[in-house]
Amino acid sequence: MARSSDGSKATEGVLRPSDHIDSTPADGGGLNEPKLGVLGYLRFFWRQLTSMRTALVLLLLLAVAAVPGSLVPQRSADPNGVAQYFVTNPDLAPILDSIQMFDVYTSAWFSAIYLLLFVSLVGCIIPRIRHHWQAMRARPPRTPKRLSRLEGFVRDERAEGTVADAVDAAERTLKRAGYRTERYGDSVSAERGYLRETGNLVFHSALVGVLVTVGVGGGFGYQGQKIIVEGQTFVNTLLAYDSFSPGRFFDQDALDPYSITLDQLDVVYEEENLDALGQPTDFTAHVDLLDQDGTTSDGEIKVNHPLRVHGNDVFLLGNGYAPVITVRDGEGNIAFSEAVPFLPQDANLTSLGVVKVPDALPEQLGLVGFAYPTQGYLDSGAMTSVYPDDIRPVVSFNVFTGDLGVDDGIPRSVYELDTRDMTQVAGRGTDVDAIILEPGQTQDLPNGLGSVTFESMPRFVSVDVHHDPSQLWVLVFAVLVLLGLLSSLFIPRRRVWIRVTAGADGGIVSEYAGLARGEDPGLSAAVSALAKQHADRL
């Protein structure tokens, strides 16, 4: 192993783990070594951990360990997929769950692999950084006796010139080519390509940087989802979110209470290409922003173009229709009048929605139904939407009456109607036809229960609001990773020597040779080029 604190020896090259191909094999089989103490064992394990072989095995293990996460749905990316997996594989799922197969990337075993890998990495690069620091300030090594044994050896004889001039010219040539030079008698020793090792160390350190910023920085962020209907306003407070996931170190005061009003969602549909008729080609949400200090401004949110505001990034992730439904109860009072977001079920935005009217008298009402932006019929006669734009909007409802089950404090999904304690009074399966309405139309409910009005059909958007202060740092480290990689792979580190001697019958003899430090396919060509440049100077 080339480990040495002696300055002159440090120049012998680049410090590597003992099983690196460029380092000399450790001598002795350890047969006569004294018994290892506790410290000896620790040192032994540390050496094993920081060896190339261990790092390589951990790296390959990491690749293998990442694969299951693509085969089994992950809670972080696809929670519904996990729930579905439990339903379809009731026997297998709990077993997989017990070995954290649904949380692969936060699992103990995956974490163990990458943490060990990074400990190994840090253990490897810290001594190398120290060593490289010394090497960069050390003098290029003494010129070897026989250059002819080295790579790219060139010998050039010429009848005129003096040794001293030729050595000067050699030094200038090498300096010009970016070498660090040192004269040893009538020879010049030169080295270049320190940036190769610098790049290598930057690459590995930046990887550690990425890991640390992702791990620590991510904890200060948060993300939340919110559905906003055209004309409605969202205020950035914890309560206003439909769902919210804070990072570990999140502080509620970090939320800046600005507000966003959705003016309009413009959707552009393909209208000419028959192969893609009705395919949306653009979504633009026009919003008004109101800051805490009262200033207002306009904004736009598009797919791929989030709105960056107050340290938050607001993303447009989904959209649909939110029919405005008014329900009057049996006593003629308006019991409900709201825009209700319906969930799109297909490409033509046939959408499913639920209207819960807990304030209706004498009994609570529940409506389950569909919105069809452009109503048409399937071959079976059932209604469907045939185009995603709102050309001929229609809503249809089945009506239930009874107990909605919302008063017992148990949280219920707003997109599902629990009909266990309810009686169906209209729609499929009853004597009364389903309620079918166009905008502006009102229809009475049976048994004097009241009436339902379909007022209008605005669009809604679902937005994701993100705050991640570590993001920029991750990018900085990622760029460093790339730059480090480029210089560590493509900058050759090499030593070159030029020695000048007086010729036997006057004149001078110049000898050139090089030594590769690591991968360097172009060394011979580089030595020849230097020889030629040197000759040109003489």
């Binding site: 390959l60 990337y105 990018l475």
Partner: protein, 329 residues
């Protein structure tokens, strides 16, 4: 209706496939010829070798390799030239087809599985041709043009979709950069893996007893030795690795803009990471004692197989955010 640009493009794609198939045959003829011609050299040399002892055999073996490169190879060079010329013709036709598809769609021609196959195979061929300017790797023609023919053929038959406008999620400058660099990386990694396969075969040949080298794996006698093949593979793979690293970073930047997070372990992200890690392993293996040579070559092959897996199986059968094949399930 006059034939649309896309119709012309498809006709040209089929033409390119046919030309590539012919080029593939020519390259294969070359390999077959190599096997044949070494036998004649060998037949001439075995007699002398028998009388001059084992030292002489080793010497002859070397001479015979040189002979394979120089004098006795005129017949084979014709096939190599035919193969390369056909590849260039196929490439030009393929290029025009791809450009027409882009013009028909009024955007870059790599927004769905079919278009991506079209462009990626074009880039693989371009890199294969471009590398020849610096290093004669025509002997990889059988592998590379074979792969291109199969991929292009399968995707044209199986993945073709008519021109449709870009969904909003793909309307980004990163579509141009991210996908293009990914294809470029794929091309270099593919060439590297092909060289690694050659390296393994050559390694096996070099392990044969000297006598049986005259009768077995003769096609490899005229190819570079295993170490040279490994060095070439390494030089191509590190270029591919840099492109792959860039793809990963560019993809993360795009993911942040499109989905609000730069990394989310989506299936495609997982496999891009896995591939990156395997090739990082390859680069380390090459400088780890005991891992250089055969083990590192296997890593390159496993890595490129993962690239192909990522591009085919993951695209078609795994549900994820990168479902842009344009094919309905």
């Amino acid at each position: 209706m006059t034939p649309s640009l896309d119709t012309v493009s498809v006709i040209l794609v089929y033409s390119a496939i046919a030309v590539y198939a012919l080029a593939f045959i020519a390259f294969t003829m070359d390999l077959a010829r190599r096997a044949g011609e070494v036998r004649t050299v060998a037949a001439a040399s075995v007699g002398t070798a028998a009388s001059s002892g084992s030292g002489g055999t080793a010497l002859l073996d070397r001479e015979q390799i040189e002979a394979g490169d120089a004098t006795a190879s005129r017949g084979r060079l014709v096939w190599l030239r035919i193969g390369l010329s056909l590849t260039i013709i196929g490439f030009v036709v393929h290029l025009v087809a791809t450009v027409l598809r882009g013009l028909a769609a009024e955007r870059v021609p790599w927004a769905n599985m079919y278009e991506f196959s079209l462009t990626a195979t074009l880039i693989i061929t371009a890199v294969f041709l471009g590398v020849q300017l610096r290093q004669d790797l025509r002997f990889l023609g059988t592998f590379i043009i074979g792969l291109v023919t199969v991929l292009l053929g399968l995707s044209t038959v199986g993945f073709y979709v008519s021109v449709v406008p870009l969904p909003p999620s793909l309307q980004s400058i990163w579509l141009i950069i991210h996908v293009f660099v990914a294809s470029l990386g794929t091309a270099f990694l593919g060439l590297g893996a092909a060289l690694s396969i050659m390296q393994l075969l050559q390694h096996r040949r070099e392990g044969l007893p000297v006598e049986s080298r005259f009768t077995r794996m003769r096609a490899f006698a005229s190819l570079p030795d295993a170490e040279k093949l490994e060095n070439l593979a390494y030089r191509l793979i590190i270029v591919g690795f840099v492109f792959w690293t860039f793809t990963l970073i560019a993809g993360a930047i795009w993911a942040e803009a499109a989905w609000g997070r730069y990394w989310g372990w989506d299936v495609k992200e997982v496999w891009t990471f896995v591939i990156w890690t395997i090739f990082a392993g390859y680069i380390h293996a090459r400088s780890t004692r005991g891992w250089r040579g055969v083990p590192s070559a296997w890593l390159a092959i496993v890595g490129f197989s993962s690239v192909l897996f990522n591009y085919t199986v993951v695209n078609l059968f795994f549900n994820g955010l990168h479902s842009y094949s344009g094919l309905t399930e």
